[in-house]
Amino acid sequence: MASNTPAPLPAGGSGMGEERRPGSYAQAAPAESYLSSPVGLRSWLLTLDHKRIALLYMLTVMAAFAVGGAMAMVIRAYLLVPKKDMGGADAYNQFFTLHGTIMIFLFVIPGMPGIFGNFVLPLMLGAKDLAFPRLNLLSWYLYVAGSLLAVLSIAVGGVDTGWTFYTPYSTTTAMTGVVPMVLGAFIIGMSSILTGVNFIATIHMLRPPQMTWFKMPLFLWAIYATSLIQVLATPVLGITLLLLTVERVFGIGIFDSRLGGDPVLFQHFFWFYSHPAVYIMILPAMGVISELISVFSRKHIFGYHFIAYSSVAIALVGFLVWGHHMFTSGQSKFLGMLFSLLSFAVAIPSAVKTFNWLATLYKGSIGLQTPMCYALSFIFNFGIGGLTGLFLATLPVDIHCHDTYFVVAHFHYVIMGGTVFALLGALHYWWPKMFGRMYDEFWGRIAFFIVFVGFNLTFFPQFILGTKGVPRRTYNYLPEYRFYHTESSIGAFLLGTGLCIVAVYLLHSLFRGRRAPANPWGAATLEWQCPSPPPTHNFERPPPVGDPYDFSGLEYDRASGGFVMKAAENRATDEHR
């Protein structure tokens, strides 16, 4: 029953009409949502609700980000000034191994699909849940188990092989943390596979009848392409890590040249997965950017079909380029040329997307809210990162730049400047939907600025260091490179500070943020047709399907502080009844 005075505390079940009364949205109590019911730790740990599982992923993935980030700070502290003494190399090697493994296997690969894929995918389809909710929960538990096992490696002897675990060092080193870390990554791989299976089945089977493939939001195309890679590439990582373990434990000799094996075979197996893996990292990010650019330009996305096809093209062609990580491994020159050519080819779909985004911005009505800030900077960062990838794909340049800081700068520009920025954009974009609260826009932009400056300050000097030939994975350097390294370290500390600020105001918004309307940004995709935060079953009845980028049917409603369907207030309130 709606009362005339807004309830001061969430009372649950107090009626959903209150948030739409004039001036009352700041104080209105939320209705029952997936957050408030059912209660209890067990209901969270045994949940089958995709939204709750998404939050479980968020908790653990962000914890991994924090640990990996701490490792990064340690690395940059090491490299702040060149050292006179030669101590600390072994520890340094363990730090960069941990940083790489945690960031890649525990943060970036599971992060976007696990958090945003899980939360948003069924909502964008107007569905009640994913196709296989129990498999979804199993995926999360496998992720947690694998992560714990991988981190346990610190306690049982440590690993200093680098996240690439190249043989023969990884099979013969006395550092005993290799097996738990590798098996941990194997288990996380199983989680990734099951998530991919779940998403593909959901997109095929649970689309509403009117939502044909080309009426899907581009974020779903991106998730679909990501899931294809997860399903096809991750098993190869699985068998590679298994063979590595068996080699270490039983000494079968498959990667040991003294026993007739071939260490370079490991590299082929490893990169056959790990190159497509980077597309697992970037494709969901690009999907998010497509959404953000369109919504915050109030303009239909340009070249929808091209962007959709390019996602699948990246997924498929991405399987053909793994050899560009191995130009200096002794593989044949012909093979090197072939991989170089294919690597140039795989850049084309990414460029197609970038130009389509720019065309979308053209003559759009651009709003610089925090998600859009991250989206725009994504285009800048990913442009730099992607183009420097082409430099590395050029054979003679790679001979000079392989294993230097140039490579480090390149992949941090695409993964951090690309994926992590997109993840932050997605976090701010869907935060109101997930928690029913608006974050503070002022602090959002301040933090964005610090993060952007910090990030570029950290990694741009590393391009220069790389061209000068400074090798990566070394704990010390010659004094003549001091300026760039110090600059880079200062940038890293700034970046860390910015990210901490993000965490602070986001957490603060959970308690004190303005209550969010159903559609604060005026987007036309279906997840904004349910309340913020949604009830457990998402929609009372399936929402009407239209063009996901047609904003003409929406208008801003001052009373609720968000957007509603035009001239059809009745239609909007249907979902609230």
């Binding site: 196709a131 006395a174 089945a201 089977m205 399903v231 098993p235 000799g253 003294r258 007739g260």
Partner: protein
């Protein structure tokens, strides 16, 4: 349509999950999911098949000779056993589809029994390998006089072949770590010596690189000689059949679960999706073996 439960309504049968609109949609989604999962399994095994292809191409003589240690008759028996278990599994799916409860349970039980038989034969084979030290990698110490093979005769190099690069492998060079976990630290000096040899193609005929003195042919009358790197074959053999065996075991666990659900009366012609999907998995396990058998046992 009726079911054992008797409380199925046309609108929302009890087995229908809330995110699906119709049982057909649920069944089709399950099928798609299972096929996707099987694709991932195929890709995982294909890594091993790739390794097999690489090493067989590089060391064909190893594969021909080492395969003589495998008893192809036992392998063929296993193949027949597994094919029969696929038959009984398919029959079980058909029984569920036709609502034949008793036949369903009998067929599931038979499948389990045959799978158990498969693992039993594999256990006999593994035990035989263990007895003759035909183990992968550094544990490879074949005792050829007693090695069981299908013909009961120790493998002897065909007439006309020189001993060239074929030396008895009595002891492999110590790699930096003993094949145990946690690994033992590398002993000083050994790693260096072994690394210098760097044999990508094995020691040169007649010439023993320094540090590999233990590879030099012994003069004592010894058993028939094997090609060096024969242990590679056994490494591949154990990993492939071992991984396959683990999948058979996992399949048996799942079939037990199906059996317990069948005894509870969960399945009917309206709802037999789990049986169908596990059947798909079981056929996949069978197919992998059908590829493994000729590649490992019938190398000639």
């Amino acid at each position: 349509m009726t079911s054992d439960k008797g409380q199925m309504t046309k609108d929302h049968p009890p087995f229908l999950a809330h995110q699906f609109d119709t049982p057909e949609q649920q069944f089709r989604a399950g099928k798609l999911g299972m096929w996707l999962f099987l694709c991932t399994e195929i890709l995982m095994f294909s890594g091993l098949f790739c390794a097999y292809a690489v090493y067989r191409h590089n060391h064909p003589e190893v594969f021909v000779r080492a395969a003589e240690f495998l008893n192809w008759k036992l392998g063929a028996l296993n193949t027949v056993v597994l094919i029969c278990s696929s038959l009984t599994m398919a029959w079980a799916v058909h029984s569920a589809h036709c609502n034949q409860q008793r036949r369903l349970k009998v067929m599931l039980g038979l499948t389990l029994f045959l799978a158990f038989g498969f693992l039993g034969v594999k256990a006999i084979e593994y035990h035989d390998k263990w007895k003759h030290h035909l183990l992968p990698g550094v544990r490879f110490k074949p005792e050829l006089d007693h090695a069981a093979s299908s013909t009961g005769v120790s493998p002897v190099p065909p007439a006309g072949e020189t001993s060239g690069d074929r030396q008895p492998i009595s002891k492999l060079p110590e790699i930096g770590v003993s094949p145990r976990w946690p690994a033992q630290p590398r002993k000083d000096g050994e790693g260096q010596a072994a690394q210098k040899a760097g044999p990508w193609n094995g020691p040169a005929p007649g010439k023993v690189p320094e540090g590999l003195a233990e590879f030099a042919p012994r003069h004592a009358p010894g058993p028939a000689k094997l090609p060096s790197y024969t242990h590679i074959f056994f490494g591949i053999y154990f990993v492939m059949t071992g991984l396959h065996g683990l999948h058979v075991l996992a399949g048996m666990v799942v079939i037990c679960w199906l059996l317990s659900r069948a005894r509870r009366g969960d399945f009917s012609s309206a709802y037999y999706a789990p049986v169908d999907l596990v059947g798909l998995y079981w056929h996949f396990v069978d197919i992998v073996w059908i590829y493994l058998f000729p590649l490992l046992y019938l190398v000639r």
